[in-house]
Symmetry: C2
Subunit: 242 residues, 2 copies
DNA sequence: AGATAGCTTTGATGCAAATCAAACAATTGT
DNA sequence: ACAATTGTTTGATTTGCATCAAAGCTATCT
């Protein structure tokens, strides 16, 4: 790799990464950690709006997000887009590519981002050597399957208010796990992208935000959201609990 | 395992199973195949309507369907059910349990069925030994992720007719891959279960079937469906192609 | 600072699918 | 063979969200 030509790519050590607990298994000794560093080949910077990978592109690597924020989406031939997920630091994307050796979705950076490139051949080789890494990879894939199951529940069974409540609670919970506030967040995506993810139109997303705001459940100012009554949101999401 | 007490469970060899190409990787020699047989601990019979596993139950094994038909579903606390998939012979279920060591969905047999019980510890151990099995397991999980992505597209973006067309085409394609007709099928699930999977009510499913029938695209008689104009179905599913 | 483009909000109207309702098969049990 | 149960079809009505439309806000560029 020629760094003069590809200044955006460079090597980095997992063993010294502060996201280690998030994207790497725990329970390694120092020597193992050094070996584990081999899973990451390079680091890559993606500017806001740029694609990390696209549907149809050959699959070579998984990507661990170091900093930044992504959306993944699939499209129909007639141009309809479905956002399939929003991913933040410590999360892994690219799993869709394994089955057919080519990606089936697009990954777009919603802010300037930084990812660790993990060639899948490395992941598989080291997984055979380290059962704890193997288990970790399996858990990441299973977690994605379970997440998509709950999105199916959202899309198939829930009304607009429930969907948006679930969305906000999920986002803030993941941000909180990363040391951010559990009541305030800045949305990285547009109303249209939220709507695409939740199976509703951008106008409905906007109206539902306004409704929550009128009801005193949240404060909204464009991309900034403060959750004033988290319990009210939880009740909307999970109506039986009342 | 006491066969007198558990007559429904007994050992079976993958190496002699006629679904081998579907649930096992290819490219093994005979000796490897013998080792690979160890992945399956037992076989288990599930009667129509019975549960293979339920949400909350400890995760121990994956299940390869030998014969029969399953649905998987998740539920909200207030009793709403979302069918997350229909699975047939040669397909693997239980992947949802890996992430938290307990299942997060229910698997119900829609007809008398027969599954190979593959303790996940065996799967992981043999995966470390056989890269081709490791790759196979990864592909199965990735395939499930990609499938769920397309269900999200269905639920988020498509109208009732498109959803049902996609559903029928997908079912018949999978049945055809198993040697069945590419134009006739017998539905193993109720209108309500189809509706739950596709995010619509049973009445809408029924009406859409009737509509397709009136338009001469399919013949329907209760659970029996014959696809008269596959191209018309494809066009409904994929409107741009015309 | 002003202009342009992109995003968001809010209102008015329309429609696809949900809901409510009832009759009609098909299947299961006695 | 009959009753009871479960599943399916079809019709009438309602409704939640989409669509259409227009104005307001923010950010970016010159």
């Amino acid at each position: 790799m020629n760094l003069a030509i590809h200044p955006e790519t460079f090597k980095v050590a997992c063993s010294s990464c502060n996201l280690r607990e998030l994207c790497m298994p725990i329970g390694f000794n120092l020597d193992d950690m050094k070996r584990l560093d081999e899973v990451v080949a390079t680091r890559r910077r993606i500017k806001q709006g740029d694609l990390l990978f696209t549907s149809g592109e050959p699959f070579t690597s998984l990507y661990a997000i170091r900093t930044g924020f992504f959306k993944t989406s699939v499209s129909t031939d007639d141009g309809r887009e479905q956002v399939t997920g929003f991913q933040m630091a410590g999360e892994v994307i690219g799993l869709d590519g394994i089955v057919s050796d080519s990606h089936s979705c697009n990954a777009v950076a919603l802010e300037d981002s930084d990812v660790c490139v993990m060639p899948f051949a490395n992941v598989e080789e080291l997984s055979r050597e380290f059962p704890v890494l193997q288990r970790h990879v399996h858990k990441i894939m299973s977690r994605e399957i379970v997440r998509e199951n709950s999105v199916m529940m959202l899309l198939g069974n829930m009304r607009a208010e429930e969907r948006l409540a679930a969305f906000l609670l999920n986002l803030v919970q993941r941000l909180h796990a990363r040391g951010f506030s559990q009541s305030e967040l800045v949305l990285r995506m547009t109303r249209e992208e939220i709507g695409s993810y939740l199976g509703m139109k951008l106008e409905t997303v906007s109206r539902t935000f306004s409704k929550f705001s009128e009801d005193g459940i949240i404060d909204v100012k464009q991309r900034y959201v403060r959750i004033v009554q988290p319990d009210a949101l939880k009740q909307i999401f999970n109506p039986e609990t009342c």
